[in-house]
Amino acid sequence: MNKILFKKTLRDMKSAWAQSLALAVIVALGIAGLISMDGAYRDLSTSYNYAYDTLHFADVAFSVQAAPSDVVEKVAHLNGVEAVTGRLVVDTGYELPSGEPIRARFIGLPPDSQPKVGSLYIREGRYLQPGDANAVVLESHFAQYYKLHPSDKVTPIVNGKRVAMKIVGVASSPEYLVVSRSKQDVLPSPRTFAVLFAPLPQVQKDFGMKGKINDIAVLVESGADRGKVLEEIRGVLQPYGITAITPREHQPSNEALGLDLEGFKETAYFIPALMFFVAAMAVYIMLSRTVRAQHPQIGLMKALGYSDGAVMLHYLAYALTIGVLGSMIGILMGQPLGTVITKVYAGELGIPLVKTRLYPDLWLGGVVLMLLFMIIGSIGPARSSAKMAPAIAMRFDPSAALVKGRASIVERLVRLPFWLRLPVRDVFRVRRRSISTGLGVVFSLVLVVLGFAFMDSMNYVLDYGITSANWDMLAQFSRPQTEQVVKTVASWDGVKYVEQHIEMPVTLKANGKSQSLLLYAVKPDTKMSPIQLVGQTKDRHVALAGDKIVLTEYMAQKLGLKEGDGVQISTPFGDLRLTVGGVSREYITAVAYVSLDKVQKMAGIEVFNALYLNVAPYRQVETKKRLYHLPGAANVQIREGMMKDIKSFMGLYDAFVGIIFLFAVLLAFALLFNTMTVSVLERQREYATMRAIGASGRRISWLMAMESLILWALTLVPGLFLGWLVSYYSMETFSSDLFVFYLKITPVSYILSAAGILVVMLLSALPAIRHVNRLNLAEAIKMIT
């Protein structure tokens, strides 16, 4: 490109520095969004793997009923086995200082040295030592939640008694990066679950399993035939009663992290993509105005012999230069922001080893992509500049050419007061300007509504969780319970209502797809279950009658199922063929419901393994204690506490949404500043003339404000609707097999979005108004811009 022409490009940018800066800010935010979010996604992914590698996270864990400790040696000698650690894992209770019982898990580990598989990352204190008695290394999430440190005491239940044990260290484990007890623990919380790493001999002694282990964690050699190795291990362990084989990909903590990361990844692409689109639109608005204002210059360039291509390149260069400058700022902003996001996210999750890197490929990819969007945005105006005939271009009066046609429709319908006519005309008769400014307003609305949508939808999930189910307490049992237990519990003081049900993991097969679910077998007249039927069938009795199953809306959609379709489920009692009887709207997606009778008939006995309870608030802690004393009681939860757990689980999401919201508002401001100032500045001569013939600065400010108000009113409905639509699709990207986010935007949010945008419109017009009011009138009335 001609040097002089490029110099003109730079001078044009300098003369419209505020607009160029706003555009560069939009570009920078887009690039910063991509680099920070995608970079954080990569960093988190790397950090997880780094933690797994460093801490020798098991490729597979075998649970057995009980095996002699020396079985480890046998497994270690098998071909393809890299390392093995034998552990004794025992679930027990724990009594908090308040007296509230929660769950705890002892994991017996070799006291002499860190385990070869599933090592601990010591954050405070030390690892176990052979002479340690009544000593534990406490898992870090629980320690952090209750502010426990080495030398403090923990109080697990051992053989029915509360025993004080000394904390010698606080550690992270690759198996408990998310402290999940099992796959069914959909809302893991360190508040209600402690993991205690203790010397293996101590755990064996305390729980009467001297010389025994029940968990064998294995690392498979890389390159070994994994299936074959597992078969051989299975052969060795078969005599000891294998109860579960958990490969790494199905390990609860790893699976939860994977789903979380997947959601993060989708957002890391969706939000920046939206920002890139806004950048393309902003450059279109800016450049189409610039080209129009520079018609005489274009005519001159062409008259002097510059080719169409050179003229076009001149305007493309404008967009690309801003694209490059904005991208540089974006990289400088995005890289540290990404590191902060990674560290905050990893810190919140308790990831012990965090690796952050620079991603030059991401910078380059981002910049190239942004430049592509800039070209898309600028190609139209740049081409129109090249197509102009020089003589026509030089004669062109931009402000006059904008106006064509007759009086606006509004005016033909309503006789407007005189002072309203000008702003109305400006909006309706200068359509190109109004449309491009209006597009800016619409997209700003979209961005802000999107920000609100994320916040409202999250609040909705929490409220829904609170309001959709009616139970106050939930008790889960590790072995079947009979009707007698219901009667016993119902007779306790403060207990108002008890309802039994069954919870069990099942695999659902349909349409050639397979899905792990938690199946709830409930009474068709259940008063407690959160079933909210939203399909054709609204009656729970009908939806759960006979061979019917109720799926969640998300799962039905994912599996391509509708009411009346057949499915097969594999349960611990055998396989069942069922028909979809209804769909329920729930934010936890991997659940399904059948009637309690159906499962009890299949099992051949009237048993259950879980209870819903309504309990007077003042008796809830006491009831929890009593429930834990029932034989086989595995877990008791108070719903209020659960909701607290959800909220803390979602705390990170709030921070994330906060960042999205901030980006949205900044983008909206930059976009509106640009469109509003360009819109005002291209009418400098018009405003200067008004000033010259005696209109006061206040009068002109009023006219501009009225025009903004009219434009705002016109763009409100399309902007809010598009905001809703974009939010709807973005919620889908946030949903996973774990949670589904239903779009909720409150009327207050719509009002705040609309009012906020109006304020921003007026604020962003202020610099332009100040500029117009300070114009050198003698010069401005002559200018053709």
Partner: protein, 240 residues
């Protein structure tokens, strides 16, 4: 000569142009009487538009005084200058400077409405002014639907909204063909003669000079010569 409506006293005007100071006016003294028709002539850069802008309160001098009807407008603040322009001056520009989104009568009414908060009678008053410039039949047309001459006549009608004692016209025929230019000048002459409006017209077109009562020749920011026409020529006699 009638009492002076405008008096310029040793007026200078310097413009910074990058690192250079341009001396647009180098100390001019001029008196214009009420009802006079003055033509300011001179080559580009001679200072004629600057002089006009100072008289109209669009700009302030670097030194000297601009006295209009006994008031030193160089001491006015922006707010006072706005009022001064609104109440005392009618402007006509080379590029018409009509508001493209307003019709002919609305452009005129825009100026009327600045003076009178009562907008009910605007249409009638605007129509009267359009009649004065012979364009009452084009009242509902937008500027883009009018010829250059028609647009300039609308601009004149607008400038008359405040019945100004002073009309300042900057190259009003500069963008018009001869015939249209003549019709615009005729309107100005009529206003000057019938309404006794003081008229100051800036042009580089010497052919217009014969219609003035006095011709002020400017050169390099100074008044080179002031010529008085004892019998100004009729507009129809002008040729260029």
């Amino acid at each position: 000569m009638d009492e002076a409506v405008i008096r310029l006293e040793n007026v200078t005007k310097d413009y910074p142009m990058g690192e250079v100071i341009v001396h647009a006016l180098r100390g001019i003294d001029l008196e214009i009487a009420s009802g006079e028709f003055i033509v300011l002539l001179g080559p580009s850069g001679s200072g004629k538009t600057t002089t006009l802008n100072l008289m109209g309160g669009l700009d302030k001098p670097t030194s000297g005084r601009v006295i209009v009807q006994g008031e030193d407008i160089t001491r006015y603040k922006d707010k006072d200058l706005t009022r001064y322009r609104r109440e005392n001056v009618g402007f006509v520009f080379q590029f018409f400077n009509l508001i493209p989104t307003l019709t002919a009568w609305e452009n005129v009414a825009f100026a009327l409405a600045l003076l009178d908060g009562n907008t009910r009678s605007l249409e009638k008053k605007a129509q009267e002014l359009l009649e004065m410039v012979g364009l009452s039949d084009r009242a509902d047309h937008f500027p883009s639907q009018l010829s250059g001459g028609e647009q300039q006549r609308i601009a004149i009608a607008r400038s008359l909204a405040n019945r100004p004692p002073l009309m300042l016209c900057d190259e009003p025929t500069g963008n018009l063909d001869v015939e249209t230019g003549r019709s615009v000048l005729q309107v100005m002459r009529d206003l000057n003669r019938q309404e006794r409006t003081t008229m100051v017209l800036v042009t580089h077109n010497t052919a217009i000079a014969p219609m003035a009562d006095r011709v002020v020749w400017l050169h390099s920011g100074t008044i080179k010569e002031i010529a008085t026409n004892s019998s100004p020529a009729p507009v129809s006699a002008l040729e260029w």
